[in-house]
Each structure stands twice: as structure tokens, then as C-alpha cells.
Symmetry: C2
Subunit: 348 residues, 2 copies
């Protein structure tokens, strides 16, 4: 097989990943103890590389969890005593909101239809909410909120915690961590890694709030400071993340971001003129650079085209949830070359 995976995660592996896995096998990294110095060195390297690539300051600690759903849950469990506020515009932001209700918190939300963004400068957050939870890039609908708007929201509400889901946009958004208290993402999307690892970035000042067992912020922080995790973690995932960050640092974040911009422009320009598909997100300001969602113009069932592309070796995602039949989703991650995007577009 030699397919190209445009699915929004798990997705195409970052090109260096297979070789890193082979080296990991050779160097017996899958057998080393998670309490050994060798593991601590891997942990430290990964944290260092990630800090450098994403400009994460020492004011923030970095925790390794197993999935972004876990990240959503642990944020609410640890950082929210009573009430959370959610900006809901897609299935994942909605899930986060529902988690809060399931956990017995008072969850408030403002909601816009799927496919729309928010005018963050005009949003009012109710006084008693402790945290603002928002999804910077909605994988389900292809809506991306501009990071500058997010930063201004924090400036308007400096006393509330701000938690940002960057699951399917990382490493694209230039987050200013002096204005973002909590952020999280998964390995299997923009970093092109195997699934089963997520990363939670938490400001020191949040760590006073803590609740739970092995993944309370207190316990996570205690182990983080020793370059370890409370549980036996996904050692391979942590190793690979560090290596791919290193590879990306060699290329430079700017070039990676520029490439994503360039490919996104190619894709959206193509679909502005395409007869079968049109971008689901109408407002250009909110069109995601990393996960493009396309709506069938004639509301036709997209199974045939997905199958047709599949036969040509290009795997695209179907629409999320209720949009499964009439939308396709195309990831535009660092692992996707201009060449492969062009190959996809000429087939559509």
C-alpha cells in the first residue's frame, strides 16, 4: 500500500516517523523503564523541543495524557470548581461543554450554528464562570478562530482562565502563552504521529487548582518536574513527538506555517470555482487552514467520490456526524506536501 491520508487524524505520518520508529526499535526504547535516566532524557528532550517549536515559556508545564478527550476532562476536573463557559460551534466544543455537565459543573455556553465562528470581541462571559473553554480549530466543521482574537478575549477577561483546544491546528497557530493559560493537542494530527498521546500545556498559576488521582495537576506537576509521568506512559509516542519537533525545528516553524498557508490557499481557491464542492465555512476569516471541510453543492452523497479517491490512493475524511453523507474533510498538515495536495485537487 502507498496511500496518502488526508483524513483529519489519524492522518498521513510525518515523513520521518517510520525511520524514527525503526531507530526506537534498534535502540530498545520500547523496553526501557519509565523510571530510568534514559527515559528522563527522552522526556526532557521532547519538552525542550516542543517549547522551542511552539514558543512555550517556562511559566507553563507540559503534561502527557492519552487523548484530547482526556485533556478536556482533566482541565474541567482540576481547574473548575463550579462553573465553566464554553464557546460551542461544532461537535468537539459541544463535547467539552457536555463533559462539564456530566461532571456536575454549572456549564454555560454561547452557541452558533456549525460552520460559523465567533466575533470574540463582542462576546460577554458571565461573571461567575471560572474558565473560558474554546476550540481554536473545530475538526468537525473546519472553523478556525484567529489567535489574535483569542488573545484579545483574554485581555478583556484577564481574571478568568482561558483554555484553548488546538488539537487539529497545532503547530500552525502562534499562541502567545502569556495570554493562554491552558492549551492541548493530540499527536496524531498536525505532528503526523501514531495515535495515543495528547499534550496538555498548563500555566503554573493554574496548578494551585488540583483535583483527582494520578492525573491531578499536583501529581502531574510533581512528576513533570522529574521528567517523568505518574503512570507508565506511551514512551514511543513521547520519543517520536520529540524527534518530529526536532525535524520541524530544522525546517523552521515559519516555513511550516508558510507551507500550510500556501496549500490552504491552493485548496480554497480550487473549491471557490469547483462545481461539486464548496467550502462549508462561508466567512473566509474563519476558514481553517489545517482542516478543510467541503460541502457537496448538490447535496449529493459523497460516498462514491470518497471511494473513487480511495482507489486512486487518496484517503479523505467523510463529514462529521450529521454531515457524514454530504461533506468531505481534507487535512492540510505539515505531512501533506504541495505535490500530494495538487494530486488530490486534480482528481476532484
Amino acid at each position: 500500500m502507498k496511500n496518502i491520508y488526508f483524513t483529519p487524524g489519524p492522518s498521513q505520518l510525518y515523513p520521518t516517523v517510520p525511520d524514527h520508529i525503526k531507530v526506537a526499535l534498534k535502540q530498545e526504547i520500547l523496553s526501557i523503564s519509565h523510571r530510568s535516566q534514559r527515559f528522563e532524557q527522552i522526556f526532557e528532550d521532547t519538552v525542550d523541543n516542543l517549547r522551542q517549536l511552539m514558543n512555550i515559556p517556562p511559566s507553563h508545564e507540559i503534561f502527557f495524557l492519552s487523548s484530547s478527550l482526556e485533556a478536556m476532562e482533566r482541565i474541567l476536573q482540576n481547574a473548575v470548581e463550579k462553573s465553566s463557559f464554553h464557546l460551542v460551534n461544532g461537535p468537539f466544543s459541544d463535547k467539552w461543554y457536555r463533559f462539564s455537565l456530566d461532571m456536575g459543573k454549572e456549564a454555560k455556553k454561547i452557541e452558533v450554528p456549525f460552520g460559523e465562528g465567533f466575533d470574540l470581541d463582542k462576546i460577554n462571559i458571565s461573571d461567575k464562570c471560572e474558565i473560558i473553554c474554546l476550540t481554536q480549530n473545530e475538526t468537525g466543521t473546519g472553523v478556525m478562530l484567529p489567535v489574535d482574537d483569542i488573545h484579545r478575549l483574554k485581555l478583556r477577561y484577564p481574571n478568568k482562565l482561558l483554555a484553548v483546544d488546538i488539537v487539529s491546528s497545532v503547530p500552525y497557530p502562534a499562541i502567545d502563552f502569556s495570554l493562554v493559560d491552558i492549551a492541548f493537542f493530540s499527536a496524531q494530527k498536525g505532528f503526523g504521529l501514531p495515535a495515543g498521546l495528547s499534550v496538555l500545556i498548563v500555566a503554573d498559576k493554574v496548578l494551585k487548582k488540583s483535583s483527582g488521582t494520578y492525573h491531578s495537576f499536583t501529581v502531574l506537576s510533581k512528576f513533570f518536574r522529574n521528567n517523568q509521568t505518574p503512570e507508565t506512559p506511551n514512551v514511543l509516542g513521547i520519543y517520536l513527538l520529540g524527534k518530529v519537533c526536532q525535524d520541524m525545528l530544522k525546517i523552521g516553524r515559519k516555513r511550516i506555517v508558510d507551507d500550510i498557508d500556501k496549500k490552504a490557499a491552493m485548496i480554497y481557491e480550487f473549491f471557490e470555482k469547483n462545481k461539486r464542492f464548496t467550502p462549508f465555512v462561508k466567512d473566509k476569516k474563519f476558514r481553517s487552514k489545517t482542516t478543510v471541510v467541503l460541502q457537496s453543492t448538490k447535496n449529493e452523497n459523497i460516498s462514491q467520490i470518497v471511494e473513487f479517491l480511495g482507489k486512486k490512493g487518496m484517503i479523505v475524511g467523510k463529514g462529521y456526524g450529521k454531515f457524514k453523507e454530504n461533506q468531505i474533510r481534507i487535512a492540510n498538515f505539515p505531512a501533506h506536501s504541495v505535490f500530494s495536495v495538487r494530486k488530490l485537487l486534480v482528481s476532484l
Copy 2:
């Protein structure tokens, strides 16, 4: 490098694992969607193979989590409304007990010194406890509780749930799932897999009890029935577990168990006569077959011997926690051949 890892997990990879990983890469399993038919087939195969190997009846569902610490937490979160009962005889059973307290439950325990087992026929469980939590094999101390004793405990308390930690003994213990409501283990121990996956086996009747978000039993069960997981899981881990179960089925569980018995006998006989080390567990009935803990007879610091063995390519574990300086731990998993055990013993 070509070391043999006798560490009690992560440990020596099961011999077929490197090739399975290479096949997974070739077949692009690290890129497939966790909502695709291909993933569902992998999930189903792994569940089927595990059921066959461990004799898990249809009355029990199988959930994939990220670590055994998560399994401990999810059991308490879902299955315990008020009160849990814990048999504490080592660091992991103690951790489970403390999790219950941290979660605000009424946790009761009976405790014996580290290195000792329990006379399960004589234990009295307080009436109001909903669940009995016990650690069949204490990785920290090398104590293994005989499964028949565990089964008889359930017969004495049929109305209480029985949850059994088989983290570091699986696939050795012949659990009778008609008498065990919940069991869990990690991939990186007896199965010789990369770390980052744990398996929670839960009887249908327990599933009525459910609490939480994406890993509530209700949500886990809903996805399980569709051969999926709520979150994007460790796809590689699930794939590899299925493949190693298949490999073990070809050999036959009986032979794997017989081999463990044979190697355990070799190890304990050797240390009965050894001058430097003696088994930490005095009562032969409770000596673990899969994780042997050895105490320095002269209470000497074991760092030197660990280093000496390391230079010879044999990596053993240090003692757990307060025993770090004076004990070594040797895993005796299916991945450890008679040949490699012999090589280790002649060096001691």
C-alpha cells in the same frame, strides 16, 4: 544494542513485536481512521484473540484504556458509589486504596506488611463495601495471590463486586470470569508490548453502574459494541496486542504457563542457595511466578550488581520505592526464554 530486559515492565518485547510493528507501518495502520472499517476489524480481532487466550466469556466487555492507573481510577469512578474495600500488601494495592480516598469515597482496607500475602479464606469484608479490590500480583513486592483463593473469596461474598489487578501476571493466572467481575492489565508487561495501553475487562452486570464522561462505563460500552473506542485510541497498541495474542494462541496458553512455571522454579531454586540474594517473599505459596523480588542477604547496596549485569547486557529492575537500594526485581514473562534466564542466573 542487544540487551535483555528483565525489568518488570516496560520489559523485553515479545519476540514477534518488532516484525508486527514493521508490518503495521507497511500496511499504514498508523494512519487509518479510528472510525474506519479497517480499525473496527482490528479491534474485533484483538478482542476475539484476547477472549480466546484468557477465556473471557461473552458476559464480559473489554475496554481499552491508557494505563493501569487509569483502570484503577475508572473502576472506582464508575462502579463505586460510596465505599470500596482494599487488600493492601504493596505499593500498587496501596495506590488503589489511596485513589479511592482521593475520590472522596469511604475506602476500607486490611493491610499486611510488604512481602506478605493474605489468607483469603479468613478475611472479613465489611458489609457496606460495594467492591473488593485486590492485587493478584504485586509488582512492587513479588507477592502473587493464588487465583483459586480469589475465586473462593468471591463465593463467600457473591453480592459484592470483585475487581482484580492482574497487571503484571497476565497471561499467567487462569481467571474464572464467572467469579471475577472486573480485571485489568497493562500491555507492557506479560504481553511484551510497547507501553501506553491497558485493558479493562468488565462484567455486563457492572455496566449499570456508570459515571463520568468519555470513559464512563456507559460510553465505553456503547463504543465497544461497535468495535470502537470513545477517543482516538492507541491504534498501534490495540493492533499489536491482537497479534501477540494470536502468536500466543499458536503456542498454546498451557505451554506458556508451563514455561513460566519452569523458569520460576529455576529462579527460586537458584536463589534458595544463593549467598547474595534471597527471595523477599518468605511464604512459598505467595511467591510470584512472573515478578521475582530478591533481597540482598547482607543488605548491601545493589547498584553495583545492577550495573555489572547491565554491562553484560542484562537489565534488571531495582527494588520498588523504599526497597530501591537493597532489592532487585526480575520479570519472568513469556518474552523471557529459558536460555536468557539461565544466562542471568549464572551471572549472579
